[in-house]
Amino acid sequence: MFVCDARKDEKRGVKHEAEKTLIELKNAGFTYGGREILSEMTLQLQPGSFHFLTGPSGSGKTTLLNLCYQALLPTTGMVRVFEQDVRAMTRDDIARVRRRIGVVHQNCQFLDHLSVRENLALPLAVSGRDDDLHPSNVDDLLGWVGLTERGDALPPELSGGERQRAALARAIIMSPDLILADEPTGNVDWEMAQRLLALLVELNKMGKTILIATHDLNLIRTVKSEVSARVLRISNSKLQLAGADL
């Protein structure tokens, strides 16, 4: 499988100190339009950990993920990403941090005028890692997510499951330290959902930190035997049952 390893970053002079905590929320809250969506969130994501984030629709799972990759800033409390306070980050800092976070959205966003292969290579291109932009690297990744034959297709031509796998492939092409997935199996059948989950478990075994937001408890149970995952639940704007192992 294709991996942009940390040694390449070191060669480029980019040094990532080994962080003890990738994401840290301390009494973080988020209010929008007078409604308190999240409150008093306290959470730490350690390197190599696997977390599920559950809760009913509208409970704030997506908002929490947005706080984790600085799409939103907390209205109260503190959020630290790779040990940096998000409030102190410049826009360039946020861009650099996002290169270390792979995000898989439920409604996978692609550039519809570019092929799947070009979409996958986009994170490498925008970060200036042109030496990793070798076609074979992208093809390896396409093969890993089972999209070898669909590399030249345009995103609107893909099925829901193919889009989810392509989004996962794009999320990991930079070999990020952290993968945030928001309902990654929301639009696919059970078989495809298991297949996507297996890919995420494989990434976790490679040392990647995973946080998956899902309301599908069956999905969580399927990985019980394969990985030690923690389940976090958002209820009444608050994070509960943190630390409950499956």
Binding site: Y69, A71, R91, R96, R98, L111, L114, V126, M174
Partner: protein, 300 residues
């Protein structure tokens, strides 16, 4: 340094950055058309400005070197006063030559007003003496005093009275030309800014995806800036080319046509319109860059 690199990237190109923004036909055509139109107008404004500048300089130089003495005297004293005036002028420093204008020359001067068959000998027309000056010219006040003493019917007209308003008018036309060029540059910047903002708004999804995967604002802006700068450059080249052809076909400067026929470029001034396309590209570069960063700063 970052900005200089951005400027160089316009011409070096970045295949990836170019491709991330989908083709936008309408804004492309709008930008090119605007740049072409504005460049066309700028060439003529430049030509107007340069022509009026030349005209002002020419009028100033020609009128400053000559003056006229008008003698109004009874028929019997005209010859004597003319001779007295010439004698005064011969001994006045700053005058290279002076001569009494012939009847034919005076008739030609009056022809535009009275027609070709003017009976000059039956009319009480003053005698005119044309004076050519040298160096810094004569002391006008002193000369007037001497003329008053030697030839009471002689009046010195050193052309200052009507030279100044003419030169002032030409200079104001020149300023008008410069202001027109500044307005053209400002309008170009405004229209390209609007077109860029429209393109940025239409590509909200693209920008959102690029930010999600860690693109810096400068990378996103570069894709738009390069596109708009090149469109403006190409449009301005076309507009400038057409305008130069138009200027080439303008009638050459002629005495009878005066100002209107001298509207063109002379000598090294032909280089100036060639600067309009790069200047238009610079305006487009800064306008798009400003619009892009302003729009991006509002997005998460």
């Amino acid at each position: 340094m970052e900005r200089l690199r951005s400027l160089m990237d316009i011409f070096n190109g970045d295949g990836n950055a170019d491709r991330v923004v989908p083709p936008s036909g309408f804004t492309a055509r709008l930008t090119s058309f605007t740049a072409a139109s504005m460049a066309f107008l700028a060439v003529f404004a430049l030509a107007l400005s340069l022509a009026t500048g030349r005209l002002a300089a020419r009028w100033d130089a020609e009128l400053a070197r000559t003056s006229t003495i008008r003698i109004s005297a009874p028929e019997g004293q005209m010859a004597a006063q003319s001779e007295a005036v010439l004698e005064v002028l011969r001994t006045t420093p700053g005058i290279s030559s002076a001569r009494v204008m012939s009847d034919a020359e005076q008739r030609k001067l009056l022809e535009p007003w009275f027609g070709p068959d003017l009976p000059l000998d039956t009319l009480p027309v003053p005698r005119l003496i044309e004076v050519l000056e040298e160096g810094r010219g004569p002391d006008a006040a002193g000369l007037k005093l001497r003329l008053a003493a030697e030839a009471p019917g002689a009046v010195l007209d050193d052309h200052t009275r009507w030279r100044r308003p003419l030169v002032n008018a030409a200079m104001r036309l020149r300023i008008l030309g410069v202001v027109s060029m500044l307005l053209i540059a400002g309008s170009t910047a405004a229209m390209i800014t609007l077109a860029a903002q429209s393109a940025l708004a239409a590509n909200g999804q693209v920008i959102s995806v690029l930010r999600l995967i860690g693109a810096r604002d400068v990378y996103i802006a570069r894709a738009f800036v390069r596109r708009f700068t090149l469109r403006a450059l190409i449009g301005a080249c076309v507009g400038t080319g057409l305008a130069i052809i138009g200027v080439l076909f303008m009638p050459a400067a002629a005495e009878e046509g005066a100002f209107l026929t001298g509207l063109g470029f002379k000598g090294w001034h032909w280089i100036l319109p060639l600067l309009i396309p790069p200047l238009a590209a610079c305006v487009a570069f800064w306008a798009t860059r400003w619009a892009a960063f302003r729009t991006l700063s509002r997005l998460s």
